[in-house]
Symmetry: C2
Subunit: 454 residues, 2 copies
C-alpha cells in the first residue's frame, strides 16, 4: 500500500482544492436549491473515474439518484452516499458563509463538508489514488448516491424495494463515520430508524384579540397540552404501547457498547449543557441510552406572534415538527398509528398528523466478513487495537431500504469527529481526518477485495 499512501501525501493540496467547489454548490433538499446542479457535478466526477453511470428519478419531483458502477471482481461492494445537505440556518451563527468553504486552524468549515460531501469526495479521491497507484480495482463497486437523505429519503424506500438488483452486494460502506471522544476511529453496523411528523391544529378561523382567551380556544395551548402528553420531563416517552415494541440490546450489543469510550461530562460540556438528560450516571449508561433508546424530539414549534415586543393575540393555528428516532422493532407506520391512538385517547383528535418522512432501522450481523474486514482496516490505518463498534449509529439513514432489506450488511466509518457540528452552524471537518479517511478506504478495499480470509 506504500505507493497508495505516498500518492495521498503528495496530493493533499489538490484534494483540498477539489473539496471546496464540491461543498460550495448549495444542494438543500429541504428547499430544492441546487440539487440538479449538484447531481450533475457528482455524475461528472464518476465519469471521470471511468464509471458507468445511470441516473434514476425515484419518484415524482424527487432529485435524481446517481448510480455508478466501476471495477470488477468476485466480490461486490455497495457504497452509499448522498449529495444533499441540511439548510444553513441560522445563517447569523456561522463564522464564515456556509457555502464558501473556509479553512481555519486545520479545519474546513461549510454546510455539508462533514455530512457528507467531504466523505463522498474523499472516497472519490481514494479510488482515483488506487487507480493511479495500484491499478485495477480489487472488486466491483456499485455506488448509490441519492439527493434527499436530509429530507428523510422520502421516495427511496419504494424505489429500493423495486430494484434489489442494484443493491444486493457482499457488503455496503455507509455514508460516513467518525472518531469518538477519545479520538479513536469508530465503526457502526447500522442506523436507527426515524419518523418525522408535523403536528398541527386550528382552533379558530383567525387569530383573535387575547382578551377573548377567557372563552376562545387557543391553538397554541391545545398543541402544548397535546405535546406534553407525549413525553415526561424525565424523558420517558408516554405514547401508549411505544416501549412494548422496543427490543432491548443483546449480550453482543452490550459487549460492543463496552468498546466505546464515552466521556459523559466532556460531552455535556461540549454541548454547552448543564448535564445530560435521561438520568444517565456513567459513560456506559449514556452511550447505551444514546444507541438503544428511541427519541421524541420537537425539532420546531411555532404559533402566534413571535416578533419583537408585544402583540396580544389568541393564536388560531399552531404547529410542531416532531422527530422520532426508532430502534428495533419500532417501525414508522406503527409509531404513526400509536401516536394517533394516543392523541385521540387523550382528547386531542383535533391535532392533525402529517407524515413528512419515515425510515426503518437496520443492523448488520457483527460476525460477518464485512465487519471483520473493517475492524482489521481500522487497526491497520488508525493503529487501534480494539476499535469502538456501534451496533447502530444514533442517527438515521435509509440503511434498511438500501442495504439490510436486501441481505446486504453495512458498515460505517469515516472522517468525522465529535465537533463536526452536523446539521448545525459551523459544520466542519478536520483536514487530517479527511486524509486519514482516504487512506482508510484504500486499506478497506484491499482487505475486502483481495485478502483471503480462509
Amino acid at each position: 500500500m506504500q505507493p497508495f499512501l505516498d500518492y495521498i501525501n503528495q496530493h493533499q493540496d489538490q484534494f483540498i482544492d477539489e473539496l471546496k467547489p464540491f461543498c460550495a454548490q448549495p444542494s438543500i433538499s429541504t428547499t430544492g436549491e441546487g440539487l440538479a446542479d449538484m447531481a450533475e457535478i457528482v455524475r461528472q466526477k464518476m465519469l471521470d473515474l471511468g464509471a458507468t453511470v445511470h441516473t434514476f428519478i425515484p419518484g415524482v419531483g424527487a432529485p435524481p439518484i446517481v448510480y455508478a458502477t466501476l471495477g470488477d471482481g468476485p466480490k461486490t461492494l455497495l457504497i452509499y452516499n448522498h449529495y444533499d445537505v441540511q439548510p444553513a440556518d441560522s445563517i447569523e451563527l456561522w463564522d464564515s458563509p456556509p457555502f464558501e468553504p473556509t479553512i481555519r486552524d486545520g479545519k474546513i468549515y461549510g454546510r455539508g463538508v462533514a455530512d457528507n460531501k467531504g466523505h463522498l469526495i474523499g472516497r472519490i479521491q481514494a479510488i482515483r489514488t488506487w487507480q493511479e497507484t495500484m491499478g485495477k480495482l480489487p472488486c466491483r463497486i456499485n455506488w448509490f448516491i441519492e439527493g434527499e437523505e436530509e429530507m428523510g429519503s422520502t421516495h427511496l424506500e419504494s424505489f429500493c424495494l423495486d430494484h434489489p438488483e442494484l443493491l444486493q452486494a457482499d457488503g455496503c460502506v455507509w455514508e460516513m463515520g467518525s472518531t469518538n471522544d477519545a479520538g479513536e476511529a469508530m465503526i457502526h453496523l447500522g442506523a436507527k430508524g426515524m419518523l418525522y411528523v408535523e403536528l398541527s391544529i386550528r382552533s379558530l378561523s383567525g387569530d383573535q384579540h387575547s382578551s377573548r382567551a377567557t372563552i376562545a380556544p387557543s391553538a397554541a395551548w391545545r398543541l402544548i397540552w397535546a405535546l406534553n402528553t407525549l413525553k415526561a420531563p424525565d424523558e420517558t416517552i408516554l405514547i401508549e404501547g411505544f416501549y412494548d415494541h422496543v427490543v432491548p440490546p443483546s449480550e453482543t450489543d452490550l459487549a460492543m457498547l463496552k468498546t466505546i469510550p464515552f466521556d459523559m461530562n466532556g460531552y455535556a460540556k461540549r454541548l454547552g449543557a448543564d448535564k445530560l438528560v435521561g438520568g444517565v450516571s456513567s459513560g456506559l449508561e449514556a452511550i447505551t441510552r444514546h444507541v438503544f433508546q428511541p427519541t421524541c424530539t420537537i425539532c420546531g414549534i411555532e404559533s402566534g406572534y413571535t416578533g419583537p415586543g408585544l402583540k396580544t393575540v389568541t393564536p388560531a393555528t399552531a404547529k410542531a415538527k416532531v422527530d422520532f428516532r426508532l430502534v428495533p422493532d419500532l417501525k414508522p407506520k406503527l409509531v404513526v398509528r400509536l401516536l394517533r391512538q394516543h392523541l385521540d385517547k387523550h382528547g386531542f383528535d383535533d391535532v392533525n398528523i402529517e407524515v413528512l418522512g419515515g425510515e426503518h432501522t437496520g443492523k448488520s450481523d457483527p460476525d460477518c466478513d464485512l465487519v471483520k474486514d473493517t475492524i482489521k482496516s481500522v487497526q491497520q490505518v488508525y493503529g487501534v487495537e480494539t476499535p469502538a463498534v456501534y451496533p447502530m449509529m444514533p442517527a438515521s439513514g435509509p440503511v434498511w431500504a438500501v442495504a439490510t432489506s436486501h441481505g446486504t450488511p453495512l458498515v460505517g466509518f469515516g472522517a468525522g469527529y465529535p465537533g463536526i457540528q452536523i446539521h448545525a452552524p459551523n459544520e466542519n471537518l478536520r483536514l487530517s481526518d479527511y486524509f486519514q479517511a482516504i487512506r482508510m478506504i484504500g486499506q478497506f478495499l484491499a482487505n475486502f477485495g483481495i485478502e483471503d480470509k480462509g
Copy 2:
C-alpha cells in the same frame, strides 16, 4: 340637538374622507413605525379644533403624549385615546392592504380603524360639529392621547402618577366601545389589568443534530413542560396562589352582567370555534367568565426549525410570549412573583421571565353621575331602554394609571361591533356605527355638561 344631528347627516362624506388619511398613516408601537408622524397629525387636528396642545415624552424612547385642552365649564371631562395601532401581520390574510383604508359593503377596513383611530377622529368630528352647531362647549375637555397603548403603555404609569393635575376630572370617556351580539350599544365601567411576559430558555450552546436528543437537553421540551404547568386543559390556571387574589364579582356586578345579552353559540360560530372553553353552558356563564376570569394566554411561541419540510435539530433556545389578563386584586408585580415562585417550585428555574408590560385593573362606581349620564345618552341615541353595562371590559388599558388611581371614574362606549377584528387581519368598522358614535358623543356632552341632575 337637531342642528347637531343634521350637521352630521350633511357631512358624512367629509367625515369618511377625513377618516381615511388618519388610518392610512402607519403608527405601530411594536416597531416604532410612523409614531412621530402620527402624533403630529393628531396635534394638528387638536389645534384645528382650537385646543391648547402640549406634548409630553413619558419616558426615554417613548412616543409623545398629545395633551389637548379646550372648552370651559364647571365640570371637566377627561378623554383618553391612543394613536398607535397593532402590527398588521399576518399581511397575507388581509383582503385589502392594512394601511390603505378601503370601503366594502358599508364597512371601512384597515389597521386601526376600530382600535382606536376611528373612535378618535369620530370624537374630533363630534366636537367640531358641536362648535359649528351648538357653539361653546358645555364643559372643559382635557384630552389625553398616548402612542404606546398597544405595547402595554409601558412608560405611562409613572408619568401619570407624577401628573395627577392632568388627569383629575369629573369623569373620563375611555378610548372606545362597541355594540354587542344583539346589536345594542354597550357601556363599560373599567378594564382588566394585564401582565405581558416573555419566557425563554437556553439548554445548549447551539442547536444540535436531533439524534443527540437521547441525552442532550431540549429547550423546546423544557419550555413546553414549563408552560404545561401554568394552565390545565380545562383552562384552570395552575400558578400557586393565583386565584387567592381574585375578588369574585359583587351582587351589583352580577346584576350588571344580566343586562348583557350574549349569544354563546353565535359567538363560537363567529370565531370559527367548535365551542367556547372554560366549561360555560349559558350566555350568562360565558359573559361572567369573560368579564371576571383572569387569563393566561400564549400569544406566541417559537423554537427550532419552523420552515418547510424536514430539519432534524434539537433546539438550543425556545421562547413564548404570555399575556395574563388580570382582575381585582391581581396586580402585575404580584403575578410576576407568583409565576417565578411557581416555575422554581416545579423545577423550571432555567426558564427566564422578561416583563414586557403591565397594567392594573380599574373599575368605576356604577352609581356615579358619569355612569348615569352615559346610560341616559345611550337610551336617547340608541333607543335602548336598558343598556348593557360591563362592570369591566375584558380587554385592558391604562385605566388605573390614567383615571381610577386619581379618583376619576371612567366609562367606555363607541363604534365597535362584534365583528371588528381588532388586533387581527381585516380590522373594520361599520360606517353607520361610526356616525352613530359621533351622535353619541354630542348627546353625552349635553348630558354631562349642561343638564341639571338635581
